[in-house]
C-alpha cells in the first residue's frame, strides 16, 4: 500500500504519502483481476459438477463394487458388464510403455542439456525439443499408425505382431510426445542445484559423469521425480494417439502389447461421438469414466506439485 507517514526527527511537518484522493476506479479494477483469478476455481468446480451430475443416476443401476472390481468392460453388449479395470489397464499399459521410452530419452537429454551442453547448443536444442511437444497429437497418431508401426514391425519380425492396432506402438508414440516435458522439468530441477555442490565434487577430483550422476541427479531428485509424474499424467490424458494407434481393443482384460486396447480417454471419445442414445446408462459411462480419469490425473498432479515444491524449498 502506498500510505506511510514520514516523520523526521528534525521536526519537519508530517507528510502523509497516502493518495490525495481515493482511487475507487482502481479498486474496481483490482476486483476484476480477482474475478479473473477466481474463474480458475469456477472452471474446476464446473468440471467436477459436469462429471458428478449423472453419477447418482449411473450408480443407482450399476453397483460401485462391480465398477471397480469386475474385469470386463462391455457396455452396449447383450450381457453388459461395467467393470472398469480393462480400460484402466489399457491406460496403464500405454503409460508404462510411454514412460519406459520417455524416461531414458528425457532424462539423458536433460542431463546433457544442463551439465554438458555449451550455452549455444542448449539454446538451439531446447526450442527444437519443444517442437516435438507442440506437434498436434492427431498428426503423431497418424504418423505412428502409417509409418512407425510398420517400421517397428520391420525391425522386429520375430515378435507376434497381429492385427492392425498395437498398444505397444501407441505407448512408444505417446512416449515421444512426453520426452520434451520430462526433459525440460528435469533440466530445470538440475539447473537449480547450486553450483557449489558441483564445484565441491570437481574439487575432489570427480569427473563430469560422476558429478552429473552422483551429485546433481540425486540433489535434483525430487524435481526429477516430479518430471516423471508430470509426464505420466500427460500420458494418462492422451486421446488422439491412442484412438488412432491402439484402436479399441476387446472388452476383456488384455495385457498383450501387440494387440489393440482401449484406454479411458479413447473410450470417452468413442462413446461421446457414437450411436448410443444420450441419457441411457451406457451414455452415462462417459461421466463415470471421466470422473475416474479426472481423479487419477488430479492425484498425479498434486503429487508432482508436492515434489516440485520440495525441490524448490531445499535450494531457494
Amino acid at each position: 500500500m502506498s500510505s506511510s507517514v514520514v516523520s523526521a526527527r528534525s521536526g519537519a511537518r508530517r507528510v502523509s504519502l497516502r493518495a490525495e484522493h481515493p482511487h475507487y476506479g482502481e479498486k474496481v479494477i483490482i476486483a476484476f483481476l480477482f474475478i479473473a483469478a477466481v474463474i480458475s476455481v469456477a472452471v474446476t468446480t464446473a468440471i467436477v459438477l459436469a462429471l458428478l451430475q449423472p453419477l447418482p443416476r449411473f450408480f443407482s443401476e450399476i453397483s460401485i463394487v462391480e465398477f471397480f472390481t469386475a474385469t470386463e468392460w462391455s457396455p452396449g453388449f447383450a450381457r453388459p458388464q461395467y467393470g472398469v479395470i480393462p480400460i484402466v489397464v489399457g491406460t496403464l499399459m500405454v503409460v508404462v510403455t510411454a514412460l519406459s521410452v520417455a524416461i531414458p530419452l528425457g532424462l539423458l537429454s536433460a542431463i546433457y542439456l544442463s551439465e554438458y551442453a555449451p550455452e549455444g547448443v542448449r539454446k538451439t536444442i531446447k526450442p527444437i525439443l519443444e517442437v516435438l511437444e507442440g506437434i498436434p497429437t492427431v498428426a503423431v497418431g497418424l504418423f505412428a499408425f502409417f509409418w512407425l508401426r510398420p517400421f517397428i514391425e520391420y525391425l522386429t519380425p520375430w515378435l507376434p505382431w497381429g492385427g492392425l492396432f498395437s498398444t505397444g506402438v501407441a505407448g512408444i508414440a505417446v512416449g515421444l510426445i512426453i520426452v520434451p516435458l520430462i526433459s525440460s522439468v528435469a533440466d530445470d530441477a538440475m539447473r537449480s542445484v547450486p553450483r557449489a555442490l558441483r564445484e565441491g565434487a570437481y574439487a575432489l577430483g570427480a569427473g563430469k559423469m560422476r558429478v552429473a550422476l552422483r551429485v546433481v541427479v540425486p540433489a535434483a531428485f525430487s524435481g526429477i521425480i516430479a518430471a516423471f509424474v508430470l509426464g505420466a499424467s500427460r500420458a494418462v490424458g492422451e486421446t488422439m494417439v491412442v484412438l488412432l494407434v491402439a484402436g479399441a481393443g476387446s472388452p476383456q482384460l488384455n495385457f498383450n502389447p501387440f494387440e489393440g486396447i482401449q484406454t479411458m480417454t479413447a473410450y470417452i471419445a468413442s462413446r461421446a461421438t457414437g450411436e448410443i442414445a444420450v441419457g441411457s446408462i451406457v451414455y452415462d459411462t462417459i461421466f463415470a469414466v471421466g470422473a475416474l480419469l479426472f481423479t487419477i490425473t488430479l492425484a498425479m498432479n498434486m503429487l508432482a506439485i508436492r515434489f516440485v515444491n520440495r525441490f524448490r524449498e531445499v535450494y531457494d
Binding site: I39, S109, P136, G207, G237
Partner: protein, 313 residues
Amino acid sequence: MSDSFNKLPARSRFAAAGAGLVVQNRFASADNKGKVSGVLFLSVMLLALTISLVAITAILAWAFVEGRTRLDLDLIFNGPSTVNRATAGFSVAIQGTLQIIAGVIAIIIPLGAGAALYLEQFADKTKWWNRLIELNIQNLAGVPSIVFGILGLAFFVRAPFNLGLVAAAGSATIALLVLPTVILASREAIKAVPSSILEGSLALGATRWQAVWLQVLPAAVPGMLTGVILAVARAIGEAAPLLLVGALTFVTFPPNFFEGGYSALPVLIYQYAGRPQEEFQILAAAGVLLMLVVLFVINSFAIWLRARYERTW
C-alpha cells in the same frame, strides 16, 4: 601454499598428505577408468537427443511424402467435398480454426493477464483462498483435454450457456483448456520483472495499480505474449475436446460463430483419415503438413519474440 604448508608441524603435514592420498585413490583411479565410460555416457546422451530429433523429422517426412500430391492451393481454398474428392480441401476447417482462435485469444488475454497480475501483485499470499487459486491453476494445467470436452458439452453447449454445437462453444472450451498455461507463463513473466522497478515507482508516489499498470506490466508483456502465442499454437492442434462439442460435422460453408455447424483443422484431418477413399487419406496427410507449417511459423515467431525481448535486469 607450500610456504605456509611447510611451516606446519610435521604431524599435520603427514596427516594432510595422507588425506590427500586417500582422496586421490578414491577418485583418481575410478575416473581414469571413467574416461571411457565418460565418452560412452556422452554418446548415449547424444543418442537420446538424436532419437527425439529423428522422431520430429520422421513425422515431417511422413506428412510430406504421403501428402505431397495434394499440396496445391485447392487445399486451402476449397471446402470438404464428398462429390469432388480430388479437389476437396480444408478451407472451411481453416476458417473454423481461425474463428476458434480469435475467440480463444479474446478470452485468454484479459483473463490470463488479469489472473496473473492479481496473483503476483495484489494477492496476499498468506490468505488461504489465494493459495487455493494457485493450486487450482496448477492442477487445471494437467487435466486431460478430453475432460475439458466433457466440460464444454455440459456447460457451453447445454445449460447454462446453451450455445449449442457452435464455434463459440468450441472456442470457449479450448480457451479454458489453455488458460492455465497462459496464467502460469504470465506469472513467470511478471515474476521476472525485478521488484525494484515496482518499488521505485511506488516510492515516487504511484498507487499500486499505477505502478503495476505503467511499469511492471509493460516490462512483462513480451513474456506474456510469448505465453499467449504458445497457447494459441497448442489450441490450433487440439482435436479431442472439439470432438465432443460438435466439430465432428460436415460443413461446406464458412461457419458463423454463434450459429450453425463448424469444423476445425485437426478434426477434419481426423475425419478424412477415417474415410475409405484413398484421396481422403492423402488429403489427411496434406492437412497435417499444412498444420505443421503454420505451427512452425507461429512457434518461430514466439521464439524470436522471446529472444528479441528477453532482458537481463
